[in-house]
Symmetry: C2
Subunit: 640 residues, 2 copies
C-alpha cells in the first residue's frame, strides 16, 4: 500500500527534479498562453477559476484529436455514436448514484467562509512536512507517508480528526477550519419555468448511453457485443480548482460503453493487439513496492493480470491512440486500480496515466463495470435493460423456486410479513438450499432480515423451496459494460508538454520554442510565405493557398516582411510541421520543422504532396528520398 | 406590416395543405424515431420536454454537417476558431443584455400553476378563430390578423389586455390565467462551492468570442478584417417547448463573428458570390404584400437592399453551404428583418429561412450588429475592445476640447459640481458648439443635467470650449461585427424533411422510405452485404470492410440472411447512398440509392472509387460512365 504513495502522489522526487519540472511547466505554459493555445475564460472580467477557452491553435488541436478519436474508435469498431444533452433530470443521476455520492469533502475557513478541499489541505501539509522539515523523525515520516497513501480512503470523520490533530489551518488566512462535510460537485439547475424539476449539468456522458441501452441494442439487431460512444461536455463544480488545465470545471469527455455477455468477454480483434508491449503497473507490483514494467499485453491477459480479452483489447487500442497522437511511450503507463480504489461492482480497472510536470496523471480510465449501471437504471426506471441469447434448441434448466407461504407469515409476523417475504425471495441458490436442509432437519431456522436489521425465526410451514426443471428457449441477462473514458483536455495538455522543446537560434543568442506535434494533430499543417514582399511571389502564394484549401489542408499565409528565420521560429512555436517558402514562380522550398531539412517541390505537385504527408499516407522520410534537397542559401534559418 | 403575417406565421394556407403537411411530418417523424435518428432524451424516465438525443445515424449526420461547416467556413476563410465553456459568469451576460432582456412573457394557470407562453396562447387563439370559426366578420378577421402580425411587438400589458379581452383560458384545464410576466430563459446555476457566484448556461456562443476580441485581434497581427468562429452547445430554458426538434432547450450553435472596420465593409472574395441568384425577401416586398423573389445577390448589394458587401458575401456563402448539404433551393429564402424586428443597434439583418412542415423556419441569422457587443463589454469590463488603423503619415485632425472650470462650478453648485462636470464633458460636438456660441453671445445658458433631472444655469467662466488641431498617428475605433449564426439542429431537421421521400416497393404492395442525403452528409456512406450467407463471400466482405475503414469511409456490414430487396430498403431508409453486394470474390455490384442503378467494380479498386464518390471528387454520373453496368439478375430489388 505504501507504494501507492510513490505511484499517485505528485511533486515527490528530489527537490531539483521538482524545480526543473516547475521551470519546464512555466516555459510551456507561457508559450501556450502567449500563442493562444488556451486563454483563461472571461479574462477581461477577471476570469473564473477552472474555466479555460481553447484559442485558435488549441481549438484546432482539440478538433484534430477528436477527429482521430472518431476514426480510431468509432469508425474502426463500427461503434454507435450518440449525442445527448448536458442538462439532465435528477432521476437519472439519482439512479447512477451521482446525487448521493458525487461529492468531495470540504472545509470552510471559519472567518472568511472560503472553501477548501479537506484532502488537499491534509495532502499539502504532509508533503510540505516531508519535503521541508528536516527535524521530523523516521517514525513521523512513516506516519505522514501512510496518511498520504490512505488519503482517498479517509471518511469525513477521519479527515476531520487528522486536520485537528495536525493543527491545520486555512491557507493564507491561517484561520481555524470547520469540520469536513460533503459538497456535491454537480452544477445544479432547474428545468422548465416552474422551478419544480431539479436538474444537473451532467458530470459524465456515460449515463446518456446507459438510458438508451434498449434502443441501441435493438438498433444493433439485438446482438451483443456492441459499443456505443459519445463525445461531449461534462461539468464538475470543483471546490477549488488547481493544476491549471488538468482540473477544470467544464471539460470534454469521450466515452465508450462496450456491452458484452458477462459469460463471454472475448474480443474478435484481440489478436491485433496482443503482441503490443508497453509499461504496465499491475496491482501486485504496486503493493510490493516495485515499479511499472514493460509487459506484453497478451501475457498480462493470459496470466489473468488483466481480467479479460475485451478489457485487454481496449487497453491496447488506447495505447495505440495515445502514442499516435504524439504521447511519449516512455511516459505512458497503464496502472491497475488497487482493490480499495475500485468500486465494489467493478471487475477490473486500469488507468492510462501520462507523466507530465504535475506527475503521473490519469487521462483515460478503462473499467469493467460489470452489470452495475444497467441494473441501477433498470431498478429506478422499471424498464428492463437486458439482453437475451436465443438457444438453437430449448435447454432444460434447473430453476430455484422459493414460495413464501404468505398466510403463515402474516399470522406470525403481522406487519413485518412484507419484509420477510422480500428477504426470502431474494435468497441466492446457496442460501436457499441451506435453509431448505435446515428446515428439513430442524424444522426451523434463524434468518437475518436486512430491512428489519434482525434475525427472525422461520418455520417449515412458512416457505417452500424447491428446484424445478424447465425448458427454456433463451437466456435473459444484464450485459456487462466495459468503459474506456477519455479526458480529452488532460490528454491534450500532456501532449503539449510531451511535444514541447527548445533549441538555440542559429545565432545562438536565444532559445526558440518548438512543438513537435505529429502532422495528425498539428493545429495548422503548413505555413506559406513569399521569400520577399513581391507581387509575383504573392500571386503564387495565393494560388498555393487555394490549392491547399481545396485539398482540405489547414494553413496560414504569412506575408509580413519579417526575416525568413523569424517566420520559421514563429511557425515552429505553433507546431506547424511544414513551411513552404515561395522563392520562385514554378517551384518552392518545403522545410520540415524538427529536422529543418528542406526539399524543392513543383507548385503543381505541392498540394498532393502536402496532403499525403499530413494525412499520413507517406512520411517525411519518403518525401525526403523522392525530392531534390535544398541546402544553402536564401531560405535558411541564418537569414534572421 | 400585414404581410409579416404571411411571412412569419406558420400553419397558414389552405386546410388541406395543413393536413398533408401534418401527415408528411408524421411519416418523416416515425421514420426518424424508428431508425434512431433521434430519441427523446431520458425516455425510460418519461423524457423531458425539449430535450432530444441524436441516435447513431442522427449523430453521424450532425458530425458530417459540422465537419463540412468547418471546411466551408473556418478553413476556407482562415477563421480563428475558439472553444469556450458553457458555464458563464453573470457579469458577461449582464453586459450582453441577457440577464435583463433574454425573457419570454409567461402566464400561469391560476389553479394548477402550469406555465404557458403568453404569445403562444394568443397566437393559437387567433389562428384557431381564423381557421375554424366561419361566422366571424371581415372586420374581426382583419383585427385577428393584425394581432398576429403585431405579436412580437406587444408589451406585457398589451398581451395581458388581449388575453383578457378575448377571454383566453389555460389550454386543457380552461382555468383562468395570471397576468403575463417576464421569465428569463437562461438556465441558472452557481459557480464554486460558496453559492455566491451566480452563473448561467450560455444562451449563445457569441459572447465567448467578444470577450476574447483583444487577444484574437493580436493573434491576427492587429489587422482587420478577421473572423472568429465557435461551435458549441447553447441552452434556453423554454417555457413550453413545442415543434419537436425545432424548439429545444439545448442545441448546437455554430457562430461566426466577422470583425470589420465600420468605414470599410468590402470583402476581398465578394466577387466569388455576386452572381449567385436565389430567393430573397427584402423588407420592401414584405411590407407591400409581395412574395419572395429570385434576385441576383450582386444586384441586392449594389442597390443597397443588402447593407454591405461583407453581409452580402456571407449571405452567398450561407446559400452555398445549405444547398450543398441537400437543402432544396426552392424552399430556402433569405428574409430581411423588418425595422421593428431588428435590435436598435443592428445595421441590417437577414434570416436564412427554410420551409418545412412547420412553415418557414429561421435556421441561420446573418446580422450586421455594428459595434454594439464590443462596446457593451468595453463599458462593463473597462477593457478597451478596439482596433486601430495606423496612418502612413500623421494626419491633422480637429478635436473638440471641453474644459470645465471646476473651481467656479464648485462655488456655484457645491455637491452638484460632479454631476455637472460629467454632463459638460459628455456633450457631443454639436451640443458643445451651440453652448459655446450661446455663452459668447448671452454670457450664460440653461443646461439640462440628466443625472440631476433639471436645468442649471452655466456661466461663461465655468467652462471653456474650443476646437484644437492635433496631429494623429492612428485612428482608434470599435470594429463592427457581422454575425452569421447557425442553428445546427434546425438545419438538420429541415434537411431530414427535404431529403425524405417514399416510393413503392417492387411488388407494389408497400411504400418504402428513402432519405436522399448527399454522400457528404449521409450517416453511413455504404453498406456491404454478401449476396448469400456463405463463408467465401463473408471473407470478401470483411476484406472490403477493412479497406473502407482504412480509407476512412463509414460503412456497415449486413450479414443477415434477409432478401437483398429487404436489405436495400433498410439501407435506403437510413439514407445510405451506396450498397455494395458481394456476389463474387473478384468484383462486386455497387447500387446507387436514388436511381437504383448498378455497376460492377473490382474488389481492389472499390475503396478508391467509394472514397472519390463519397468525398465529392467524382459524381455518380462519372462513375456510371466509367464502369460496366449491371442490370438483370440476383442483385435486383425483385428479390424480396
Amino acid at each position: 500500500l505504501e507504494k501507492k504513495l510513490q505511484a499517485a502522489v505528485t511533486g515527490g522526487g528530489p527537490a531539483e527534479g521538482a524545480l526543473t519540472r516547475e521551470a519546464f511547466r512555466q516555459a510551456v505554459g507561457n508559450t501556450l498562453e502567449r500563442r493562444l493555445f488556451y486563454i483563461p475564460s472571461f479574462k477581461i472580467y477577471g476570469g473564473v477559476a477552472g474555466l479555460y477557452d481553447y484559442g485558435p491553435p488549441g481549438c484546432a488541436v482539440k478538433s484534430n484529436v477528436l477527429s482521430f478519436w472518431r476514426q480510431h474508435f468509432v469508425l474502426e469498431e463500427n461503434m454507435l455514436e450518440v449525442d445527448c444533452p448536458c442538462v439532465t433530470p435528477e432521476d437519472v443521476l439519482k439512479a447512477s448514484g451521482h446525487v448521493d455520492k458525487f461529492t468531495d469533502l470540504m472545509v470552510k475557513d471559519e472567518k472568511t467562509g472560503d472553501c477548501h478541499r479537506a484532502d488537499h489541505l491534509l495532502k499539502d501539509f504532509c508533503n510540505e512536512k516531508l519535503q521541508k522539515d528536516l527535524t521530523i523523525t523516521a517514525e513521523k515520516s512513516q506516519e505522514l507517508k501512510h496518511v498520504l497513501a490512505m488519503l482517498d480512503d479517509f471518511s469525513s470523520e477521519e479527515l476531520g480528526a487528522k486536520i485537528k490533530e495536525y493543527g491545520i489551518t486555512a491557507p493564507d488566512t491561517k484561520n481555524p477550519l470547520s469540520d469536513p462535510y460533503p459538497f456535491n460537485l454537480m452544477f445544479q439547475t432547474s428545468i422548465g419555468p416552474s422551478g419544480l424539476i431539479p436538474g444537473y449539468m451532467r458530470p459524465e456522458t456515460a449515463q446518456g448511453i446507459f438510458v438508451n441501452f434498449k434502443d441501441l441494442y435493438y438498433y444493433n439487431g439485438n446482438k451483443l457485443p456492441f459499443a456505443a460512444a459519445q463525445i461531449g461536455q461534462a461539468f464538475r463544480n470543483e471546490i477549488s480548482p488547481r493544476q491549471g488545465l488538468l482540473r477544470v470545471r467544464e471539460f470534454t469527455l469521450a466515452e465508450i460503453e462496450h456491452f458484452v455477455d458477462p459469460e463471454d468477454k472475448s474480443h474478435p480483434k484481440y489478436l491485433e493487439v496482443e503482441n503490443l508491449e508497453f509499461l504496465m503497473f499491475p496491482r501486485e507490483e504496486q503493493m510490493s513496492g516495485q515499479s511499472a514494467k514493460i509487459i506484453r499485453l497478451g501475457d498480462a491477459v493470459s496470466k489473468g493480470i488483466v481480467n479479460n480479452e475485451t478489457l485487454g483489447y481496449f487497453i491496447g487500442r488506447v495505447y495505440l491512440f495515445l502514442t499516435r497522437l504524439g504521447i511519449d511511450k516512455e511516459r505512458l503507463r497503464f496502472r491497475q486500480h488497487l482493490a480499495n480504489e475500485m468500486a465494489h461492482y467493478a471487475a477490473d480497472c486500469w488507468d492510462a496515466e501520462i507523466e507530465c510536470s504535475y506527475g503521473w496523471i490519469e487521462c483515460v480510465g478503462i473499467a469493467d463495470r460489470s452489470a452495475y449501471d444497467l441494473r441501477a437504471h433498470t431498478e429506478k426506471s422499471k424498464v428492463a435493460l437486458v439482453a437475451s441469447e436465443k438457444f438453437a434448441e430449448p435447454k432444460e434448466v434447473e430453476k430455484l423456486v422459493i414460495t413464501p407461504v404468505k398466510k403463515e407469515l402474516g399470522l406470525a409476523f403481522k406487519k413485518r410479513q412484507k419484509n420477510i417475504v422480500e428477504a426470502l425471495e431474494a435468497m441466492n441458490e446457496k442460501e436457499a438450499m441451506e435453509m431448505k436442509s435446515s428446515l428439513e432437519s430442524k424444522g426451523e431456522v434463524e434468518f437475518f432480515v436486512c430491512t428489519l436489521d434482525k434475525y427472525e425465526t422461520i418455520k417449515k410451514n412458512m416457505v417452500s423451496i424447491s428446484k424445478e426443471k424447465r425448458k427454456e428457449h433463451q437466456r435473459v441477462f444484464t450485459p456487462s459494460v466495459i468503459e474506456p473514458s477519455f479526458g480529452i483536455g488532460r490528454i491534450i495538455y500532456c501532449l503539449f508538454e510531451h511535444c514541447f522543446y527548445t533549441r538555440p537560434s542559429k545565432a545562438g543568442d536565444e532559445q526558440l520554442n518548438v512543438f513537435r506535434f505529429p502532422p495528425l494533430v498539428a493545429p495548422i499543417k503548413c505555413t506559406v510565405f513569399p521569400l520577399v514582399q513581391n507581387q509575383k511571389y504573392e500571386v503564387v502564394a495565393t494560388a498555393i493557398s487555394r490549392s491547399l484549401t481545396a485539398a482540405g489542408i489547414s494553413h496560414k499565409i504569412d506575408v509580413t516582411g519579417t526575416s525568413i528565420g523569424k517566420r520559421y521560429a514563429r511557425t515552429d512555436e505553433l507546431g506547424v510541421p511544414f513551411a513552404i517558402t515561395v522563392d520562385s514562380t514554378t517551384s518552392v522550398t518545403v522545410r520540415e520543422r524538427d529536422s529543418k531539412d528542406q526539399i524543392r517541390v513543383n507548385v503543381e505537385e505541392l498540394a498532393a504532396v502536402m496532403r499525403s504527408v499530413t494525412e499520413g499516407q507517406t512520411t517525411w522520410a519518403d518525401v525526403w528520398s523522392r525530392f531534390p534537397h535544398h541546402s544553402a542559401g536564401s531560405t535558411n534559418e541564418s537569414e534572421d
